[in-house]
């Protein structure tokens, strides 16, 4: 059984992983412990085969409850209208779009890890890419709820797609950043899904090969598209991965750039800012990695995958967090500088109001969570401390949520005409829809953790010979 599994799902013995030929002794191993191919398969497949533990049941119980309760808010909004929300004549977007941008941002880490790091040949990505990609897809699905639900007439949402129609034909408005959003998000979701799924094919085959019941075998066989592990399969798999990585890489930059255009191309002070594209991309990676940390720290513990998702992985991601967090910090300060330097009274007021106006608390929450607190990761000990990392990841998620809230709400609530100044506070419906997306996200993630291999088995195996203790010992004795 195991030999068959190894033959089908282990990569062929070619030299295509040449970049891993030597691991520097200075580097931290990517996998810990004496693993062999079979052990890896065993470790990663077993959570899908055994009865889930109590923790999983508790977790899925909570997340489906949250999903169920939240769906009342969704239904209320659909039946009664956007009036159920706290948005008003001056602040037409509130939590809905804040949450949308936040979730899209979270969805950034997955593609970055799988595509960019693949192209840059970062071996450490293998431990986390699968879960990060899943997280991306689920986050984008959560994000997609908001444009749909926040529309006044969600049943007409198909108007945003440019398709031949009987209304003239009436085309969409290609000038609108919201339309660009439609293209950007759907493309991103599609490519991420393809990338994720194609990576899963050999691993599905592994599970299929280990399956004991006929049904299970059948399901996983279908899921794996009949993968048999031939050299041609592996060849195409590698080519596809590279092509998709190539396609996905610009998306990492484009998606949040385009989301930022929703604001940057407008005329509202505080939105109309050329710095937004890089600032949003950095922020998205920042928040995406934070979410990966949150999930990984729990997953590795619950599914006992500490040997595959090592402290080295955590450390590496914390470095990315430190870098992107600092970029975001520079962007915040640049905005303030430019507002002052521009001499534009509207711009100056918008930023003074952000920091000192009625929503000052949101601004300073954002500043302290996103700029000040990640500076702790300059210290190695902190980067490798799981508790600190976990708390920081939550802080960053909160901070990044507030960043979007600050941009959207504080810019709108006191914009150009003082007569229209207003305050905004969410209603229970908005809170409920946010909860709904949390429920959706965690339910999907928990189901994923049960049914899919959370670590890319085939990819981890590629680094085994370099990183596995027993292989290293073998090499040393030669």
């Amino acid at each position: 059984m195991s030999s068959e599994a190894a033959s089908v799902t282990a990569p062929p013995k070619g030299e295509y992983h040449a970049h891993h030929a030597v691991e520097s002794p200075l580097r931290e191993p990517l996998i810990r412990g004496d693993k062999d191919y079979h052990q890896i398969t065993e470790d990663i497949c077993s959570p899908t085969e055994n009865k889930p533990g109590l923790l999983w049941f508790i977790a899925i119980g909570i997340s489906t409850t949250v999903l169920g309760v939240g769906s009342f808010a969704v239904l209320a909004t659909l039946f009664e209208g956007i009036g159920m929300w706290g948005v008003n004549k001056s602040i037409d977007w509130g939590w809905g779009i804040t949450n949308f941008v936040w979730w899209v941002g979270i969805g950034h880490a997955g593609t970055l890890i799988s595509a960019v790091l693949l192209l840059f040949r970062q071996g450490w990505r293998t431990g986390v890419n699968r879960a990060a990609e899943a997280m991306t897809i689920f986050a984008v699905l959560c994000a997609a709820q908001f444009p749909l639900l926040h529309a006044g007439r969600p049943w007409t949402i198909f108007f945003v797609f440019p398709y031949p129609n009987t209304r003239g034909p009436l085309w969409v408005n290609f000038n609108s950043p919201l339309l660009w959003d439609v293209f950007a998000i759907t493309t991103y979701l599609l490519v991420s899904l393809l990338f994720w799924y194609s990576g899963l094919l050999p691993d599905f085959a592994s599970i299929r090969d280990r399956a004991k019941s006929k049904l299970r075998k059948g399901i996983y066989n279908t899921l794996s598209f009949g993968w048999i592990g031939s050299a041609r399969h592996w060849h195409r798999f590698e080519i596809l991965s590279l092509i998709l990585a190539g396609l996905a890489t610009p998306l990492v930059l484009s998606v949040h750039t385009i989301v930022s255009f929703d604001f940057a191309t407008s005329v509202i002070p505080g939105w109309h800012t050329t710095i937004f594209p890089p600032y949003f991309v950095a922020g998205a990676i920042f928040s995406g990695f934070a979410m990966v940390q949150t999930l990984m720290i729990i997953t590795r513990k619950v599914l006992k995958l500490e040997d595959y998702i090592t402290l080295g992985h955590i450390d590496a991601m914390n470095r990315v967090i430190l870098l992107t967090g600092s970029i975001v910090g520079v962007a915040y300060i640049t905005e303030l500088f430019v507002a002052w330097y521009s001499g534009n009274i509207y711009e100056q007021y918008a930023f003074r109001n952000r920091a000192l106006g009625p929503y000052y608390w949101a601004y300073w929450t954002m500043m302290s969570c996103n700029v000040i607190s990640p500076q702790i990761f300059w210290f190695r000990g902190m980067r490798r401390n799981l508790y600190v990392t976990f708390i920081m990841s939550i802080f960053i998620n909160i901070g990044m949520w507030f960043e979007r809230f600050v941009i959207i709400v504080t810019s709108l609530h006191r914009d150009l005409l003082p007569s229209s100044w207003n305050m905004y506070s969410p209603t229970i419906s908005e809170l409920g829809i946010y909860m709904f997306t949390f429920g959706l996200f965690f339910t999907l993630f928990l189901l994923f953790a049960r049914a899919f291999p959370v670590i890319a088995i085939a990819e981890v195996k590629t680094v085994l010979k370099l990183s596995g203790e027993n292989f290293k010992r073998k090499k040393a004795t030669h």
């Binding site: 007439r153 969409v172 407008s266």
Partner: protein, 1022 residues
């Protein structure tokens, strides 16, 4: 016989020919049809299959229709006199008159398919506009809370029955010799007054007592004392170069507010060639609409008014060299304004006006004395020619005493609501119970009608014939525009019936009256029928009424010694009327309830206005942060033995140590929309010298610790910090204007016309070809009266959303009047206010258009920014990106057939008249569904109509053919609409005016609404 054949009966088997015949028929048995219907002559032929199918088809579909489909209930409203020219889809206009004892206006009623849907201005009357209440009055017609027939003791009763019962009671009262009292609102109708006179002639015990909730008794009695006639004077503001007002809201809630505004504004339009304008100095405690438009405004406590006016008299007496009023303590206000006022009045003798809002007879006599000193009578004031407001506080009080002493046997109540609006309503209510026969003609089961025995509801003015004569020589006709919706009857007909008059038809009565009294005063028409037809057609008629010359005679010095003097210590309470709500009679009109007060910008409530200083120092409110919050502190206010709890509203410009509360709220029997809105402040009125004064002294305030949510439309008020630099509201002093007429807008023009101002896109080419619709708004002319807001609501089917929704900033108004203050917020004397009507700017480079993902909002070739409602998916991106925040989103289904009544507080769903309120909807304007954005369309339906009319008449569209609803009702002519591509149009000329700028011009949105900077008549440069 073929043995294989199956047979069904013995007959068949035997080959019976009858059976053979039957077999050929499809149905062998006789069909169960009524012989008369389907059988043919001869009786033996059954219905054919075709007939059967016909019958079957009919009965099934009829049964289905009857059983399952909801057949729309037909509410056909026939014409009174069916006009021959009626065409579905085409509006008909009827000249008519709005007159309710409080307001008067000659109007055109626009009807569509027999429904009055809009009140427009009757150009023939010479009026420019109407006020907000007249605009909203069309909805009163469709108010399902009106009484739907006569009632006796609260029970429905037929008119015949009620006539019988009242007739019997009435006879008994006449025989007993007790007094018969008609307690009525001011009657402008000469015919009605004649009916009362006939009534009095027939029954000598009849007394007519006129009662105005907001009384002008003081002024009337002052005129009686000075000129011997108990009428209000007519003021000609177009002849006044200096106007000094003491708490006189003559541009706002005075009976002829809009006429005054129209005349006032003729003196307020400086041009570069002739930079002159009238000067308006105002003294008041609360911030009134009129005060907020003054050039110099000083705060004065209500109790100080007498002293202030006597000081003014004395100042002028010195200049005139006449006797001063002795023993008057000196008083002066901020900026030496009383001294300035005296000087400037004297400089403009005969071309000035001094007005006071006081209801104290003695004070008004001194005011008359001042105007007499200044020689204004006969120049800027026509003495006592107006028929407005005839109410007498004294007579009403005497009536109560008279009832209590058992002298009154019958009380007829017409169009007044003393049980609500009398400060001593309890006393009145007690007294009413003692009267044998009590009848109310009021339109609804209001506070008073629910106290009386018989309710005999009058028609709405849109259902009735009537006439009016507001001033001598001017007559107008009210004609019905719809068959009465409910079983109501004109008050006049009821009286005619009960008094067994010869003519019981009021229409005939009016005609007879006109033939005898009006027709004879003119010579243009020799045939009465022609004269009458012309009067009905035009709505207004001017005849030569003889005007007596009246001489001023009053001993000011002696009378002034009776004026109550006060040093103005302590907290004082001011009671005032709001522009929308007036005296409270239209409480159940949701348009008026939701009309934001021009000054406080609050809807659906009254509240305690206090000065910022008082709020922060006495009430301990943080005035820096409170503006953001709609939850306001509640205080308990006690005075004159009455107390209410109201939320605090901080009002810049309010005199310190005063509280202002609006009258007209706290109704209990107004209807679903009006009940329980705000608190009744009438009981706070104080009786001084026999008249009700609209203020109280000895006021106590307690903090309650409670909070109350106010439905404010605008929360921020001050233009401080860097806000004046924004290109929002530009203003300048007249002194600065004389030096440089474009001074206020120079800076922004320099910027937007410089080479540094670079746009990526080319200028759109709407300007130059075809039409380019545009609007010019003169900020100098806009008084903030808000008639345009209601006009727009009615014209464009703008939803009313109710208090809760307004408090959540969900109101839907397409046009709003932004109000800004300048000055030191803590110094009420320094506050300057300005109004800015704000509607969709129809930007040629519209930020809303390029962000809509589905192109639901786009630009027409005529420069209109238009909305395709059924394309809108409701992303609200356009609303966010609108710099002017004029786009409104349908948060709920405000106008839906199933939900309309919720937001309008209309009659509930089970009522037959649930959809009555929707009858007011304009069929030319789409009713918007939930989830779409809407906004000002520049009344595109009117533009289309204007263009079509021109085309049909085969002529070019002329400037002024098309008037938007807001422009049409503006008494001040502050809004001008037209074609910018026509260089001769008014709007093109105004666009080139040196004062014109665009709001937020530096955003390069290229708006189609130009604003003309406000000019304040101030001497100093600013």
């Amino acid at each position: 016989m073929n043995q294989d054949k199956h047979w069904q009966s013995v007959g068949e088997a035997a080959g019976d020919p009858a059976v053979e015949q039957l077999k050929k028929n499809e149905f062998q048995e006789k069909l169960p049809f009524d012989a008369g219907v389907l059988t043919e002559e001869g009786g033996n032929v059954n219905a054919s299959r075709r007939d059967f199918l016909k019958m079957f088809g009919f009965s099934v579909s009829a049964a289905t229709l009857a059983a399952s489909c909801e057949i729309p209930v037909r509410k056909a409203i026939p014409y009174v006199i069916k006009p021959e020219e009626v065409t579905p889809g085409k509006a008909l206009h009827y000249a008519s008159t709005f007159s309710d004892g409080s307001d008067y206006c000659s109007v055109l009623v626009k009807t569509r398919e027999g429904r009055p849907i809009k009140i427009e201005v009757n150009d023939k009357s010479g009026a420019n506009g109407t006020n907000a209440r007249v605009q909203a009055s069309v909805l009163n017609l469709y108010d399902a809370e009106r009484l739907r027939g006569a009632k006796a003791m609260g029970e429905d009763i037929s008119w015949e029955e009620v006539d019988k019962k009242i007739g019997a009671d009435f006879k008994a009262v006449v025989e007993s010799g007790q007094e018969i009292v008609i307690l009525t609102a001011t009657i402008l109708s000469p015919s009605t007054r004649n009916i009362f006179a006939d009534f009095q002639a027939k029954y000598p015990t009849v007394k007519v007592v006129t009662y105005d909730a907001v009384s002008y008794s003081g002024m009337l009695e002052a005129n009686e004392a000075c000129f011997g006639v108990r009428n209000l004077s007519q003021y000609d503001f177009s002849k006044a170069k200096t106007i000094v007002g003491f708490a006189a809201d003559f541009l706002g809630t005075w009976p002829t507010g809009e006429e005054n505004t129209q005349a006032y504004m003729t003196m307020r339009r400086p041009t570069a060639k002739n930079p002159k304008m009238s000067r308006h100095i105002h003294f008041e405690a609360g911030m009134s609409l009129t005060g907020s438009n003054a050039d110099l405004r000083a705060t004065m406590k209500p109790s100080q008014e007498g002293m202030a006016i006597m000081n003014l008299y004395n100042n002028l007496a010195v200049l005139a060299g006449v006797e001063q009023i002795p023993n008057v303590p000196k008083i002066e206000f901020a900026g030496n304004s009383l001294g300035v006022a005296s000087k400037e009045l004297w400089e403009n003798k005969g071309e000035s006006l001094v007005l006071s809002g006081s209801n104290d007879t003695n004070i008004q006599i001194v005011v008359n004395g001042i105007n007499n000193l200044l020689g204004n009578y006969g120049n800027s004031i026509m003495v006592a020619e107006s028929a407005h407001r005839q109410g007498s506080d004294k007579a009403v009080n005497e009536l109560i005493d008279s009832i209590n002493s058992g002298n009154v046997g019958a009380l007829f109540i017409n169009n007044v609501n003393p049980s609500y609006s009398l400060p001593n309503a309890d006393k009145f209510n007690e007294a009413v119970k003692k009267v044998g026969l009590t009848v109310s003609f009021n339109e609804r089961m209001d506070e008073t009608t629910s106290m009386v025995k018989y309710a005999c509801p009058d028609h709405n003015y849109l259902e009735a014939w009537n006439d009016a004569s507001p001033v001598k020589g001017q007559y107008s006709i009210t004609q019905p525009t719809i068959q009465p919706i409910f079983k109501t009857r004109p008050m006049q007909e009821s009286l005619l019936k009960w008094s067994d008059a010869e003519v019981t038809n009021y229409y005939e009565y009016i005609q007879n009256y006109w033939q005898a009294n009006v027709f004879t005063k003119q010579s243009a028409e020799s045939n009465f029928q022609n004269f009458w037809d012309k009067a009905v057609h035009d709505g207004v008629m001017r005849v030569e009424d003889e005007i007596e010359s009246r001489e001023f005679s009053a001993n000011i010095v002696e009378i002034a010694s009776n004026v109550k003097l006060s040093n103005g210590d302590g907290l004082e309470l001011l009671l005032y009327e709001k522009m929308g709500m007036g005296d409270g009679r239209y409480s159940n009109n949701p348009f008026l309830q939701e009309l934001p007060d021009p000054i406080t910008r609050a809807t659906w409530d009254n509240y305690a206005c206090v000065s910022p200083k008082y709020a922060s120092e006495v009430l301990g409110i943080n005035i820096k942060t409170e503006a953001d919050i709609r939850e306001k502190d509640v205080i308990k206010i006690s005075a004159n033995g009455y107390s209410i709890e109201l939320p605090v509203l901080i009002q810049p410009g309010q005199a310190n140590n005063t509280i202002a509360i609006a009258l007209g709220y706290g109704r209990t029997h107004a209807g679903r929309a009006g009940n329980g809105v705000g608190q009744n402040a009438y009981p706070f009125l104080s009786m001084i010298n026999g008249t009700w004064q609209r203020y109280a002294t000895g006021v106590k305030v307690e903090k309650t610790g409670k909070k109350y949510k106010l439905a404010l439309i605008q929360t921020q008020y001050m233009l401080d910090g860097d806000l004046p630099d924004r290109t929002v509201l530009k203003d300048m002093s007249l002194a600065a204007y004389k030096k440089n007429p474009s001074g206020a807008v120079e800076k922004i023009k320099k910027y937007t016309e410089s080479d540094h101002f670079v746009a990526i896109y080319d200028k759109p080419d709407y300007r130059g070809n075809g039409h380019h619709w545009a609007m010019a708004v003169d900020l100098n002319a806009c008084t903030g009266c808000s008639a345009c807001v209601v006009a727009c609501n009615v014209e464009n089917n703008v939803p009313v959303v109710g208090k809760e929704e307004v408090a959540r900033a969900h109101e839907m108004h397409w046009i709003r009047i932004d109000r800004y203050y300048k000055g030191d917020v803590m110094d009420s004397d320094s506050i300057e206010s300005a109004y800015q009507p704000m509607m969709c700017q129809h930007c040629d480079n519209a930020p809303c258009e390029n962000v809509c993902p589905v192109a639901a909002t786009n630009h027409s070739s005529e420069g209109l920014n238009q909305m395709a409602y059924n394309r809108c998916i409701g992303t609200r991106y356009c609303a966010n990106n609108c710099p002017y925040k004029v786009r409104r989103f349908n948060w709920f289904d405000y106008m839906g057939a199933d939900s309309f009544y919720i937001y309008n507080n209309d009659t509930d769903k089970t009522d037959t008249y649930t959809e009555l309120g929707r009858m007011v909807l304009n069929p030319d304007v789409t009713v918007r569904s939930r989830g779409v954005i809407e906004k000002c369309s520049f009344c595109v339906q009117r533009i289309q109509e204007g263009k079509l009319n021109a085309k049909k008449e085969n002529r070019k569209l002329a400037d002024g053919d098309i008037k938007t609803a807001c422009m049409q009702v503006c008494s001040a002519n502050a809004i001008v609409f037209g074609d910018l591509n026509d260089p001769k149009s008014e709007v093109s000329k105004l666009y080139k005016n040196e004062r014109t700028y665009n709001v937020l011009e530096e955003m390069h949105t290229l708006p189609s609404v130009g604003y003309m900077a406000k000019v304040r008549n101030k001497k100093e440069n600013a």
